[in-house]
Symmetry: D2
Subunit: 478 residues, 4 copies
């Protein structure tokens, strides 16, 4: 068995996991009004594999091996491009919201594999390989818990007033370890099978208790998930065509003396591996990120073009200018994403997207996303926030009034459909969610700039400048 | 009588007005769960006049005359500055949301007065004066219905497929006129006393039926208000400290053969006055706008500073850089607003804020507002959209977990309070509302640029350039 | 014979051509103090072909065919990438100044070939082929005269007060045609062998006399070149390490009843081909442009890094931020240039760089070039414009004072070398030249945006938006 | 005597001062081909006082006191506004180049007065007062030498490899002190009467030798001026209508064991006064700066408008957009400058421009100046760098060709005049000079941001945010 159906996936979530939502324990996430929507959104991942349109992209077949293509270790540019396309396709099917139940997990597995291999850690490598096969061969969904609660960000883990603000080992036993602490911003935790736990930063000697990586099933005793209610539902597909049926849920992920058997501990007491793991993970994960941002950008560009037509303003000079900027912005992100794959580095048989180019793509995306939202709002007009709701539209008394008074160059129904799409994408909870993700998810803009600064190969530029200055003989860095 | 209490204002709204919300007729806006919040927000206006802290600002006393200071016709810079301060104070009391039940109405009255005076229209002036005194002496709340439904924006009123897409006269009778059509984006209509109706654009010969200005009480037969439900309430003051108790409501404002007696018709069949009215109105109204934006900008700056401290990052170079930009942005808008008053033009005894400077202030505000939101989100972090809700915080089971894991340099309760303020101001419905208002309310960014282009006095700059080019003798425009 | 030496090229310029410089006829450009520098700069092109380091890039060998690689018709991505690399290498050897004596000419030839082929113009194609072989087999240098004098830019050629403001046919004879008029901004004309003349815009019926393309040797009677003196020399390699020895010269190119034999007329009286020629030419030429901008960008980035070290400020947060931006900017242009080749369209056996991506690269370059200059100036400091000149440095009395007082973290000599490089690149004539080229050469920024708007394939974006809005069935453009 | 004529001023410069230019000692700056131009530019200052148009602005009359208005100690907003207007008028007369022979000197004197008064330094105050009266009553021109040579900018004065990299005391004698070291970027030194020397940074205990302020006549033994040749002349008023006759000269200002009598030493051995002096000086000097930038901005706006007309493009949408931006930019700087005076702080009878607003104005100017240059270049076109020179224009053979082919909507002569103005202002040496001044003069952009950060009064913003967050009771900074 290597491919599950959406139904099998959802059935697997009924396992007594300890999830809290709005102050209360959730008996079953699948049946829950809010969390169930998120679980079904995630399940689109399994539907892709059954959909003839996407099967080749979504399913890896290699001799007798058949498994979800997310698990395919990228070995070259083609593998990376295929992975990017798969992530993009899944997100487009998810109506601009990434599915993220295999993307991020495999990013973590690929990163751990590289770090352990380079460290020559045979035991860790073996445990990781076993875990990887388990996930792959059972077609499991995975979350990655990385960002620690952190406390005062100007202090190190060992300096915090509470040592639990970073997840740590509190006990080592013959059969495994006991961990304690909390991670925040963990996406999809309530509706995946496994949680992979990585360090969130570089560590130094003295930080041993916080320097570990492991994985546990979600339904492990002591693992408690406190779900955010940010994308809670108000069922109005009229004004929220995207977010009514598509949600993602993040959790505060608390490890309250959780026992982890040794075979699930990938490394421990290794401050030297913590930073490398964090960095290698984001190398893969930011490539995932720029891949899954593309449908969102396409939706903004497409909605901008459509609403300009709906309003009858598409010939105005400033409108063309704005649409050109929008298209140029979106296509720069797309182009740099493609280039990151084309320029991949292959090491130990694993292809990593080019670090500089990946971060360049992500930074390009992040620093102009708010401007893109503004641009589309500008094209759409004030009805984004002053227009009717679904109950108005469905009222036989009100609807004729709306139909009479809300047409533009398009009839009211079609015009309001596109305006409401933009409202959902940019002005309501989902818009705010995407806006914050743009500046914080997969690392902040500052983190991306730091990665660019480090990864930039200055040799060609500096050599040229020194030659032009007549300083060939002098090394610039002396 | 010239000053009403908040209670008197609210009591006055129980008059059988025809308001629809979410597809249903609202029996009484004051008692309505959503609309009542908006009405009580507006009522802050009347509380200001009773508050010793604001009384001097809010109440005009001139001999025996005592009335709300909004009605004071500005005669010089001091009057304009006082008006600006009053609007700013009201908005700060309104928690960054403008009250707008007298600001916009008096903007319209001042504009009509100027247009009718300049046109030498004695009858119109007399009717306007009577209406102005009625509003002032009864301390009435007013909405202004200006933006027409418009239909295809590339066509004129008379070219639209439906002549009602712009409000128009359908019948002239001995005692008055009958009007028909619809206005959109009308703010506060459900909870004011009077609606003042202005043309939304310049008109030309042939556009007579659409070239009129008048006023009607809200409870006039045939006047139907279809309220937007955009800022509908989910009662969670934990995550929505601002918007739970502060709302504004816009309506689709339909005139279904509404009768208007002649004494309430300020002008009619005057294409020549339509554009002047629209332009003069925004001259006053954009000054109102930049005045009421200031508390919102202050709140963003203050929240940015506070959350940087709460997170323990306020000493980082990039954080200081962002806070400096934020402060510089906010203070540029404030400074230009002040200058617009200082540079006022006094004509026929009425002081109008300088048009170029007012539009410069508004454009400065509008073109960087999304960047300001992004900056504050950047400082606040991902908890904006992944954090707990009020039910979590109020749960005795969950709260201790949050208190343990969500502190930064500040304890969790205070840190989450400031993060949630930012979330309300930038990522949820209220944030989206303010974002769209920034680019569309009181005219779009393009409209502001056009006003700047027209109002710019190029003589000094062009003379200097021509002199430097040795072309003193040549006029630049030949 | 297909490869000439630099000496042969320079010798070929001694042909009696009619060149004016600073009001006087130039007897011989090669021996001229200013123009000679430009000619020798251009001659680097021929040196490349002799340099083992570049020979493979610069020389095409195909069986017995051996010719300058610029003439190789691109047939696929690899050819385009090789062409881009050759242009980049030549410009780097030219110290950031493009050589441009074969790049632009072959852009024109490739464009004409495509337009004539598509038009099914056998005669024109045959003449073009003969001319192409002549240039290739004799290793000729070519200028392209495209931009017409234009006059009032709001008027068409036939509406101008003087019909000569666009180059036109004044007479048709049995053996050829007579042309009259002037082109501006023609680069390198004084020191090339041939001038290819293209229309600068689309034409319409009635514009027949201005709708032609042809080529003439520079030393043709009636062809007069009025050279700009913008980059004239002040011999101070200390402060002008780049521009002292590297110049390009543009001309006002006047056709005073120039006779062109029929075999050199590629088309005539074809308003339908004029616009296509202009557009196809820039498709190739903007790809040339973004290729030759890369060394300039590298020089700015490298100089920025070096001067930060020279000043001892490279660890400051704001300095890293600026260097990161610079590198990100340069690499985005480079990446998009590469992508334009990767996404080429092959038609009739000719590979054209992707139009949208090429323009995206050019627009990305152009809209931030001034910011890049500002950034490097910011890092370098005020000595850019307050420092010593070469005569100071060479004075035994002054130099010790400078050596004592002008060191930073680097000794004064090395520090001033890098500061002077930046001064030459950004604050003096050469800097101004590059700044203006950024916004005007190969089309203005507005022209690039228009090309992007037209070339953008909106189908994916619009389909997605329409699907998300529930409007699958509706076509967005209806 | 309190007002000198320009001739008297120039005569006073013939005093044996030790000036080096291009490696050679200059016998007399007034007669020198280059430096003489700068001296005559500076002399415009004295002409203003004689010009009826400016006399009221330029001359202070108070009872029997009559002196140059630059020396008037500002006591209120009106004085600051008058000072700003005087500086603006002088710069406009100087064709966008500031005169700066009294502006900066009085900035220094006002700053020293305030620092010494607050420090209760009676002796220093008395010496300063005597020096101030000497300058005022003799109508002297003054330079301010502030920026030290600095060496490695990451090190303090006492840590430099050479202690002379900051000006310091090397000997204290009964009659005065001996100083040694060098200042850079000193403007106008070769053609003023006095040099005032201020510390360039804050000092700490241990920095005593570098913590001093004093003044010396330029013709003091041991004071050597090494003039930059950056704005050297090429006499072509056709292409350089501004910079041919208007120059400023900066020097490397070397103190080679210069003796300063005690009455000219304002303070010494006072690390505690060094930083205060530097900061107070820039408080005044940045206000001077934003005042003198206004004619430059006006010239750019005016030239932009004129060239758009000259080219016949002023009706294009993108052109209007660019002109609107330009005007908005210039007027924001002007408005904030005015506000800085309006918001002045009066202390000890001296009015200082508001620090935050002054820096806001300067930062607003500096961060968009390159964009303004780009915008005007965009409107002007490629002829900025490909057009004819003065010798072409003056040639009877060439001029008719230029007149025929270079008209736009304006005739060639007028069009080229405005294009050449823009070329001089933005692409040649003068343009580069202004560009570098924008980011470095009177402190870098980073210095302005730091000043804004420190001067920003966060109380209103933070109080509001804390109240909105429900944290009234909590102080934000705890």
């Amino acid at each position: 068995m290597a491919l599950r159906t959406a139904a099998e996936f959802l059935a697997g979530l009924r396992d007594g996991r300890e999830v809290y939502y709005r102050g209360e324990r959730v008996p079953n996430v699948v049946d829950h009004a809010e969390l169930g929507v998120a679980a079904r959104h995630a399940a689109i991942d399994f539907e892709l594999a059954e959909n003839p349109k996407y099967r080749d992209l979504a399913v890896h077949r290699d001799g007798s091996d058949t498994y979800s293509a997310y698990f395919r270790l990228p070995r070259n540019t083609q593998d990376l491009l295929a992975r990017s396309k798969l992530i993009e396709a899944g997100t487009a099917e998810g109506a601009t919201l990434v599915l993220l139940i295999k993307e991020i997990g495999t990013d973590a597995l690929f990163a751990l594999k590289r770090v352990l291999t380079r460290a020559g850690d045979a035991l860790g490598t073996q445990r990781l390989e076993a875990f990887y096969r388990r996930c792959r061969d059972n077609d499991l969904a995975m979350a990655v818990a990385q960002t620690d609660a952190k406390g005062d960000r100007s202090k190190r883990p060992s300096e915090q007033s509470d040592p639990d603000l970073y997840v740590r080992v509190t006990e080592k036993r013959a059969d495994g370890i006991v961990v304690r602490g909390a991670k925040i911003h963990t996406s999809c935790t309530p509706y995946v099978d496994e949680v992979i736990v990585l360090p969130s930063r570089s560590m130094a000697p003295g930080d041993e208790p916080w320097s570990l990586a492991f994985a546990v099933p979600v339904a492990t005793p002591g693992l408690r998930l406190y779900a955010s209610d940010y994308l809670h539902g108000i069922d109005d597909p009229f004004t929220r065509p995207v977010s009514t049926n598509h949600k993602m849920v993040e959790t505060l992920t608390v490890f309250d003396n959780v026992f982890v058997p040794w075979e699930r501990v990938f490394f421990i007491d290794r401050p030297d591996l913590a930073g490398a793991t964090a960095l290698t993970f984001v190398e893969f994960h930011r490539f995932t990120a720029v891949s899954y941002k593309l449908p969102l950008l396409d939706a903004l560009v497409g909605a901008g073009i459509a609403v300009a037509k709906a309003n009858g303003i598409e010939r105005a000079g400033h409108v063309r200018d704005k649409l050109t900027w929008l298209g140029g912005y979106a296509e720069t992100v797309r182009g740099l994403t493609e280039l990151a794959a084309l320029r991949c580095k292959v090491e130990d048989g694993v292809a990593r997207p080019d670090v500089f180019t990946t971060n360049l793509a992500k930074w390009t995306f992040a620093r102009d996303f708010h401007r893109a939202m503004e641009t589309v709002q500008d094209l759409a007009g004030g009805l984004l926030v002053t227009g009717p709701g679904g109950k108005d539209w469905n009222s036989s008394a009100v609807r004729p009034v709306l139909e009479k008074y809300l047409p533009g160059a398009w009839p009211a129904e079609r015009r309001m459909a596109i305006i409401n799409l933009i409202s959902d994408l940019t002005t309501r909870l989902y818009g705010g969610y995407q806006a914050v993700l743009a500046v914080h998810a997969e690392g902040s803009i500052e983190a991306e700039k730091m990665a660019m600064y480090r990864a930039y190969d200055a040799s060609r530029a500096v050599s040229l400048a020194m030659r032009l200055a007549g300083l060939e003989a002098a090394a610039a860095n002396k």
